[in-house]
Structures are given as structure tokens and as C-alpha cells.
């Protein structure tokens, strides 16, 4: 009986449920409190910093020999900018750390921080695209005069011809507001100095512990072995916790400088101001369609506001270059032109957030399909049918190779689940009664589990991608797998234990996964980009398979049979032919303690494995039904259906959980959440009273249908599923709103579609029709 495919309750949960989780703040006891003094202005020259007479206060001048964070991309169109860990001569966004104070407790640290006065000569802030790209725009960084930090271009030879031949050209301009990942646990770190070893242990709420160690050691200029980074229990990340932030560098510097334990626990306001933001994009796109709805070509101008700095290690290229490469999505067309720019502004740095460019590019393509369908008089489902990719491997116009998927099938499944014909009748009746219901669809691909080739193609200086696993069965028959991935809520330890259990024939409760500690795990890249199940899972499968071979070899020698005849299951080694069994624990003990008997196997049961795949595409269709209250502009989601294909499900309950959470964040992107800067670059939404994540009251119940396509591109046959929910939901919701409001002839191209925006559109439509 297989453990894979079972909704096993998570092994992680009992301690978390009892309040025995260990998050960073729980590890801060006895450490001095650190508080950052942040710039109240978005742009300006620092004229001076007044420190109080007493107390530990440090500024950039104190950080002698500390380098700036300087992420690199090896592309001619990339302009590197340096991020000082404390602002030096000038500030470039509101919330940038300018000084740091240390005191005995948090309250005292806050008191001390209030006594630091930063004198800034303000400059005009560059906040949005118009300001950054306009004629004579002020440069946010002197090294990037046009405010473009990265620019990608592509043009296939037949684009112009395709537009010339088109029966219909659809031109759209889409905007996504600025969002934040907003993990419920904000950032934080505790740096403990060990005077004996002269070494610092940094406990930090992060997704990439090894990368953080590399980054901090490089910036501070010491050997990596002088630092251990531990990611303990992490209260959500969603991408926000994968970059190297200045605060962690300063924290380690303080621990070494003061030879003292120090803790920085970010508050929510700081998290809004100075962690990482995301989205804030404008996509201007034209699509050329044949009369039968066939998409012939896309021509796109993509702009991503990347904020004041480039994030380390993935750089500010992550949004624009993914947008460029993946805009074609699930559609089959061959002519493609695009220009994609990362534009710097005096706003908080952007970093990857669940979905990265894909929520926006999916919104773009899915709005495009609906608008084209309407203009050409084709049903929206039918136009997708005519354009979805259906032969594999599929090569996109940007050269991406899609492995087997079920694009059309998931869409048909979602259409069926929604029962569209019945809905259309209900919609008509509701309209007659003055109620506005709409249905919307969104079909998309989700590129997951990609290894070094994908990152190398972006010209990255630091090329992430592979995962190493060290796996051992100990003499008692228990298994330890040390992974470079770093889960933070995904239940990865449970899923990997199920996978390993199947390979080794032991129950998952005998498998311990060790993660998130640079002292205890092989160098690896952490958990992001829907990669861990695919890549760390693949490495675990290979390593466990190798250990299983050793185990079989030893068991076979013990039972005097051939290794091929041994089967591992139920914690036993079965010699099928001779009907003998041995407990796996006994075999394991012999492998270590009687190794002289098994020269063919070698001593012990330990293996390392590497997995570095090219990547695999998951796919899904989201469909939803909404009701729009035309008086208030409020949107209620009545049904939300996800038909998805992420290959085989290791733990279906965990997969569904990933989809639920992703969809909630996608709905938030579509309807609720928006970070707003005023024209001076001051953030107006720096509290949970102003920034509105959905509560249970706003969430529909999510219906999920699974399809399983077997792909050779992933050795576990599992594809990544961490981001799909977030990618697909905004387009489905917005398409449904437009459908609901079709009597008004309204189109919607901006998210979040807040009540205010929807009311504005309705008001304008009514004015036009009455005027």
C-alpha cells in the first residue's frame, strides 16, 4: 500500500497546535532589542543625523568595511544599483533604514529610536510610471538616468505580417495595483554571538537560509563558516522572505560588533513600509486575431515598477523578465513581440510574491480572450478552445518548452462544474429582477520546479535551482533526510516523508526531515517558485532509492536470496520467493554494525542525491460566479471552481490547502488589497486598517477538481502547485465582474476592482448612455 496519494494529517502540526511552535520571536529571550530608525521621506539628501547622548545608536558611518548589497544580472540591459544596508548620503524610499538602536527591551529601544533625528533635504519623489519615464524625469539612482534598471526585448520575424493579416486587433491596457505578501508573521531575526567560537547564529524568518548566509558573509566580508543561519518555524513567506534584507546584515554586524545577542522583530508597520512589495504593473498589449478567433500574434509593452532597489539574489529582473518570457501562457501562437522594463521609483523594493508576473499576465491574456470573443461574436469558452495548446511538448514563441498538460480538459471540467447553461438562465432571470450575476474563466499555465537552466537563461549572477539531499537510515531503522529546501507552512516535511516512506518501506512517522539550518543541511536554495515538492522531492526520491538498493542488498545477503527479489514494505524486507521476512530495523542495524558481512553494499545506509530538472508546467482553469451590487460596487463571489492538473498528488489534502490559500490571495489581488503611495511617496496604507486582506467573510467556498497528467519532466510525477491559486484567480474574478456588468457595456482593466472603481465605471457608463 502506497503512502503517496493519502491525505495524511501533517507531521508538523501537533507542536504548532499546542502553542509549542518555535518562531523567531519565540527565540529572542535574553537578547537585546534592535529597532531601526527609518526615513520619513521618499527621497532626499541626508544632511545630518542627531543621536541622543546616551544609548547605542549606529549609522552608516559606523559600519566600517561593510559593503552594499549589489545584485547582478549578466545582461547588457541591466543596470546594477547598490543598496547600502543603512542609508548613507541619501534616502530613496519612505521606510528605508537610516540608523539602528539597541536597548535592553523593545520598549526602551523604541524610546531610544524616537530620540534619533534625521535631517533630510527633501527631493521630489518619483512614485509612478509617468513620473519615472516622463520627459526629463528625475533619476532615482544617478547610475540609471532613465530609471530603467532592466529591459528585455523579443520580436519574432512575422509579427507585423500577422497584424496586417488580422481580422481583429484587440488593444488593452491593464494595471495591477501594488500588493504585499503580508505573511502573518512579519520579518525578524535573532543573532546570537558565541564568544568561544567567535561565531554568530542567526535565527531568521526566511525562505532561503543558505542564500542568506552567503549574502551576509559577502556583504560583511567574513567566511561563511563564521555564520550559521537557522530558519525555525516560519509564519508564512509567499516570497517576501526570500531576499537578503539589509536588516539581517545589520543584525549580524551588531552581534559581532557588540559581542552580544540581539533581536529584531519587525512590526506590522515596518513590514508594510520596508519589507518587499509586488505587482504594480502596467501591461499594454495588442492581440491580432483571425476571424475565427485564432490568436495570431501578441505585441506587448510591459512595465513593472520595481521600487527603489533590486532584490538579492533574484534581482529586479524577476518580474519583467518572467512577464516577457511567460506572457503567451497556455495559448498556441507563434508571432510575439514584447518589450518589458523594470522601472525604479522612490518606493519600497519589489521582490517575488506568490505568482510573480503571472497573475498579471494571466489577467492580460484572459481579458484579451474575453474581449476578442465579444468583438468576434464567439463564445468565450469556444475562443479558448480554439487557441489552447494541445500537443506536447509545446514550444512557446519565447522558446519555453511545455511538458504534457491538460489545458483544454481542465477548462471543460470547470465549465461543466459551473453548469454554464443553467447559470445563463439564472443570470437572465436575475437581470430581469435587477440583479447582476456574471461568470468568468481563467486558463493558465504555471511553470514550476525549474532548476539551474531556467535561471541561467535569465543571465543571473547567482544561479539557483538544484537541490541536494543527504539521506540516511540510521541503525535503528529510522530515516533522516537533510534538505536544502526550507519549508514554511507548506507541509513539505509530511509530503517528503510520504514519498520517502514509499521508497524505503517504512511508515512516514519513521522519517524525519531536517531543513532550514545551514549547519545541518547541504547547500540548497530554499522554498519558493513552486519548486520544493518537485526538486527537493525528486532529490529525496533518488536518494531514498539509492538507500533502498543498499538496504535490499544487505537484506538479500542476510536471507541468502537475490537483491532483486526483495520488496520493502510495512517496515519489513520481504524475500518474496522464499517467503522470508526481516524487520527493516534489523537490516539497518546489520548494515552498520556487521558491515564486514556485506562488502558488496559498503558500510552504512547513507546517500546524497542531486536533482536539477528543467521544469514542469502545471495547468488549471479557474471559474467563478459573482454578483455585483451595482448600487455599492461591492462584489460577492458566489462560487469558485478550480480544475487543476499538477500531476500526481503526494498528499491531496496539502495540495488542496495550497490551492485554497493561493486563491484567497488571488481574490485579494482582484478585489481588496492595494498599497497606495501619495504623490510624495508616503505610504498611505501602512496598517491593517487600511490594507485589507480578506477575512473568512469575503471568501467563497472553493470547489476543486483534479486531473492527473503523467509527465516525464518530473521524476516524482508531481508538479508544483504553490502559486497557481494566486495566478488564476484575479482573471476569473474580473472576467466574471465584466460579464455581470455587460448590460452596462463596462470593461474592467484595473485591479483591485474596489467598490469605488466599479462604481466609477458604472457611473461613467450611465452618464454616457444618458448623455
Amino acid at each position: 500500500m502506497s503512502w503517496i496519494g493519502r491525505s495524511l494529517p501533517r507531521l508538523e502540526d501537533p507542536s504548532l497546535l499546542k502553542g509549542q511552535g518555535r518562531y523567531v520571536a519565540d527565540l529572542a529571550r535574553g537578547a537585546a532589542a534592535v529597532k531601526f530608525v527609518r526615513s520619513p521621506l521618499a527621497a532626499g539628501a541626508i544632511l545630518g543625523i542627531e543621536k541622543p547622548d546616551d544609548g547605542l545608536v549606529f549609522t552608516a558611518d559606523d559600519l566600517v568595511g561593510v559593503k552594499a548589497i549589489r545584485p547582478l544580472l549578466h545582461r547588457p540591459d541591466y543596470v546594477p544599483v547598490s543598496q547600502p544596508v543603512l542609508a548613507k548620503d541619501r534616502v530613496v524610499f519612505c521606510g528605508q533604514a537610516v540608523a539602528v538602536v539597541v536597548a535592553d527591551d523593545q520598549g526602551l529601544a523604541e524610546d531610544l529610536a524616537e530620540q534619533v533625528f534625521v535631517d533630510i533635504e527633501p527631493e521630489d519623489a518619483v512614485v509612478d510610471f509617468a513620473q519615472a519615464l516622463g520627459e526629463g524625469a528625475r533619476a532615482v539612482h544617478p547610475e540609471a538616468p532613465g530609471n530603467v534598471l532592466v529591459e528585455g526585448n523579443i520580436r519574432t520575424p512575422g509579427v507585423d505580417a500577422a497584424f496586417a493579416a488580422a481580422a481583429e486587433v484587440v488593444a488593452l491596457e491593464l494595471r495591477s495595483g501594488r500588493q504585499t505578501a503580508m505573511p502573518l508573521e512579519a520579518r525578524g531575526g535573532v543573532a546570537r554571538f558565541d564568544p568561544l567560537a567567535g561565531r554568530v547564529t542567526l535565527y531568521a524568518s526566511v525562505q532561503m537560509p543558505h542564500m542568506l548566509r552567503t549574502g551576509i558573509a559577502d556583504v560583511l566580508g567574513f567566511p561563511e563558516s563564521d555564520l550559521r543561519v537557522v530558519a525555525p518555524d516560519v509564519g508564512g513567506g509567499f516570497g517576501q522572505k526570500m531576499s537578503l534584507f539589509p536588516e539581517y546584515v545589520v543584525l549580524v554586524w551588531l552581534a559581532r560588533h557588540l559581542q552580544r545577542d540581539v533581536a529584531w522583530l519587525e512590526d506590522r508597520r515596518e513590514n508594510f513600509l520596508a519589507a518587499a512589495h509586488s505587482r504594480d504593473q502596467v501591461f499594454k498589449v495588442r492581440g491580432a486575431f483571425a476571424a475565427d478567433g485564432t490568436l495570431l500574434a501578441i505585441d506587448a509593452d510591459l512595465k513593472s515598477n520595481v521600487g527603489a532597489f533590486s532584490c538579492y539574489p533574484v534581482t529586479c529582473g524577476v518580474e519583467p523578465l518572467m512577464g516577457l518570457a511567460e506572457l503567451p501562457g497556455p495559448y498556441r501562437f507563434s508571432e510575439y513581440a514584447a518589450r518589458s522594463r523594470g522601472v525604479t521609483t522612490n518606493t519600497c523594493m519589489m521582490a517575488p510574491y506568490r505568482g510573480v508576473a503571472r497573475p498579471m499576465l494571466t489577467l492580460t491574456m484572459e481579458r484579451m480572450m474575453d474581449v476578442a470573443a465579444r468583438r468576434l461574436g464567439i463564445d468565450p469558452v469556444e475562443i479558448r478552445r480554439r487557441n489552447l495548446i494541445e500537443t506536447f511538448p509545446h514550444r512557446s514563441p519565447t522558446g519555453l518548452v511545455y511538458d504534457e498538460g491538460s489545458y483544454g480538459e481542465t477548462m471543460e471540467l470547470a465549465v461543466k462544474a459551473l453548469d454554464l447553461p443553467t447559470f445563463r438562465r439564472r443570470q437572465a432571470e436575475a437581470r430581469a429582477a435587477g440583479r447582476y450575476l456574471g461568470a468568468g474563466f481563467s486558463v493558465f499555465s504555471e511553470r514550476t520546479g525549474y532548476g539551474t537552466p531556467a535561471y541561467a537563461a535569465r543571465g543571473m549572477d547567482i544561479v539557483p535551482g538544484y537541490e541536494l539531499v543527504n539521506l540516511a537510515m540510521d541503525p535503528s531503522g529510522f530515516v533522516e533526510a537533510r534538505i536544502g529546501a526550507s519549508p514554511h507552512g507548506q507541509g513539505l516535511k509530511t509530503s517528503l516523508a510520504q514519498l520517502i516512506a514509499d521508497e524505503l518501506g517504512v511508515p512516514p512517522t519513521k522519517v524525519r526531515i531536517i531543513a532550514g539550518d545551514t549547519d545541518a543541511t547541504p547547500y540548497g536554495w530554499g522554498t519558493f517558485a513552486s519548486r520544493s515538492m518537485v526538486i527537493a522531492g525528486g532529490a529525496c526520491k533518488i536518494a531514498a532509492g539509492k538507500v533502498a538498493e543498499r538496504l535490499k542488498s544487505v537484506a538479500a545477503a542476510m536471507m541468502h536470496v537475490e537483491p532483486e527479489t526483495i520488496r520493502l514494505a510495512d517496515d519489513l524486507a520481504y524475500a518474496e520467493a522464499s517467503n522470508q521476512t526481516l524487520p527493516i530495523g534489523e537490516v539497518a542495524r546489520a548494515a552498520y554494525h556487521q558491515s564486514h558481512r556485506f562488502p558488496q553494499a559498503g558500510p552504512g545506509l547513507q546517500e546524497q542525491a542531486l536533482y536539477d530538472p528543467a521544469g514542469t508546467f502545471s495547468n488549471a482553469c479557474h471559474a467563478c460566479i459573482v454578483e455585483v451590487d451595482v448600487e455599492t460596487g461591492g462584489v460577492k463571489i458566489e462560487r469558485f471552481v478550480v480544475a487543476e492538473d499538477a500531476g500526481i498528488l503526494i498528499n491531496p489534502m496539502i495540495v488542496d490547502g495550497q490551492i485554497h490559500g493561493g486563491v484567497a490571495q488571488g481574490i485579494a489581488n482582484a478585489l481588496f488589497e492595494e498599497l497606495v503611495y501619495d504623490e510624495t511617496g508616503n505610504l498611505l496604507t501602512a496598517s491593517l486598517a487600511d490594507y485589507l486582506p480578506p477575512t473568512i467573510a469575503e471568501m467563497p467556498s472553493i470547489e476543486i477538481e483534479h486531473l492527473v497528467t503523467y509527465s516525464e519532466a518530473t521524476i516524482t510525477r508531481a508538479k508544483g502547485v504553490g502559486e497557481g491559486g494566486t495566478i488564476g484567480a484575479p482573471a476569473a474574478v474580473i472576467n466574471a465582474i465584466v460579464d455581470a456588468l455587460s448590460p452596462f457595456g463596462i470593461d474592467l482593466f484595473e485591479i483591485p476592482a474596489t467598490p469605488q472603481r466599479i462604481r466609477d465605471l458604472i457611473r461613467n457608463a450611465e452618464r454616457t448612455s444618458h448623455g
Partner: protein, 165 residues
């Protein structure tokens, strides 16, 4: 900074004699002075509910209450929910229904739900959703939280000794 005051907090039936500044929140006092770090802090401005504890059996945002205000009251935190190794029905249901991912919001939801279900064992579904909307979760989309609380509610009702017998 004002002078510190001696306060006795009764948490999960046990007295903690602590000395705190009057401005110290109950959340900080529980975590830092009593060492009960199961209560989490997500916003410190009363919105997220991660810090929810029960004070005299009513759900309270412990980041919005001062430790000194809790003197003489009966405070319950997530650490007091399980009976030794035996999980509370809510904890069990959250485990079985996958009501948590990162687990950061979980203590707050568990205490909020405990407060509701003890006060109103027969609460309607609509009211239940209404009350649960006081806390934020960023991971689960709430789908399995509501399932878990419903499951625990029926379990708790079934275990309740019926008054009429």
C-alpha cells in the same frame, strides 16, 4: 518610562508573579514574562487576532490589553487547551481537517473558537462565520478553518453531558 509594577497573572490556572511597566501589553507579558510564547503577535493594532486569548472566558486581543488590566482575571492561552497529551477537540479538528499551514494564526483561531463554542455551543453557521471573521489567516483561505471549527463544534456538543438526563 514609568516605574514597574508587580502583577500576578493567573494563566491557565497557574499564578505568575511578574513585574512589568504599566505600558506592557498582556501579549508581551504572556510571551516574555510568563514564557508562554504560544500566543502570537501579528500586528499589535488589534486587527489580525493572532494574539487572541480568553480573559474570563471571553476572547480578547491581548495586544490591546495591558498586563496590569488582567490582574485578578482568569487568562487562558493555547498552552492550556490540551489536557496533557490529549488534544482539545478543536486542536484535533484543526489537525485532521488541515486547518493550519504555517501555524502562526492558529493559536488565535483556536482561542477565538474555544471562546465562541463554550459560550454558544449551538451557534448557527452564519454567526460562526461572522465571529471567525475577526481573525486573519494568510495561508489557508479559511476553507479548512471553518470545516475544523464545525467538526469540533459537533464533537464538543456530543461530549457535553446533556442537562435533561
Amino acid at each position: 518610562m514609568a516605574d514597574k509594577r508587580a502583577v500576578t497573572l493567573n494563566v491557565n490556572g497557574k499564578d505568575y508573579r511578574i513585574t512589568v511597566e504599566p505600558r506592557r501589553t498582556l501579549a508581551d507579558a504572556l510571551r516574555d514574562d510568563c514564557g508562554l510564547t504560544g500566543t502570537h503577535i501579528g500586528c499589535e493594532h488589534g486587527v489580525c487576532g493572532a494574539c487572541t486569548v480568553l480573559v474570563d472566558n471571553r476572547p480578547v486581543r491581548s495586544c490591546l490589553m495591558f498586563a496590569v488590566q488582567a490582574e485578578g482575571r482568569n487568562v487562558r492561552t493555547v498552552e492550556g487547551l490540551a489536557n496533557g497529551e490529549e488534544l482539545h477537540p478543536l486542536q484535533k479538528a484543526f489537525w485532521e481537517k488541515h486547518g493550519l499551514q504555517c501555524g502562526f494564526c492558529t493559536p488565535g483561531f483556536l482561542m477565538l473558537a474555544t471562546g465562541i463554542l463554550e459560550a454558544e455551543p449551538d451557534i448557527s453557521d452564519e454567526d460562526l462565520r461572522d465571529v471567525l471573521s475577526s481573525n486573519l489567516c494568510r495561508c489557508t483561505g479559511y476553507q479548512n478553518i471553518i470545516k475544523a471549527v464545525r467538526a469540533a463544534a459537533s464533537e464538543m456538543r456530543a461530549c457535553q453531558p446533556s442537562a435533561s438526563l
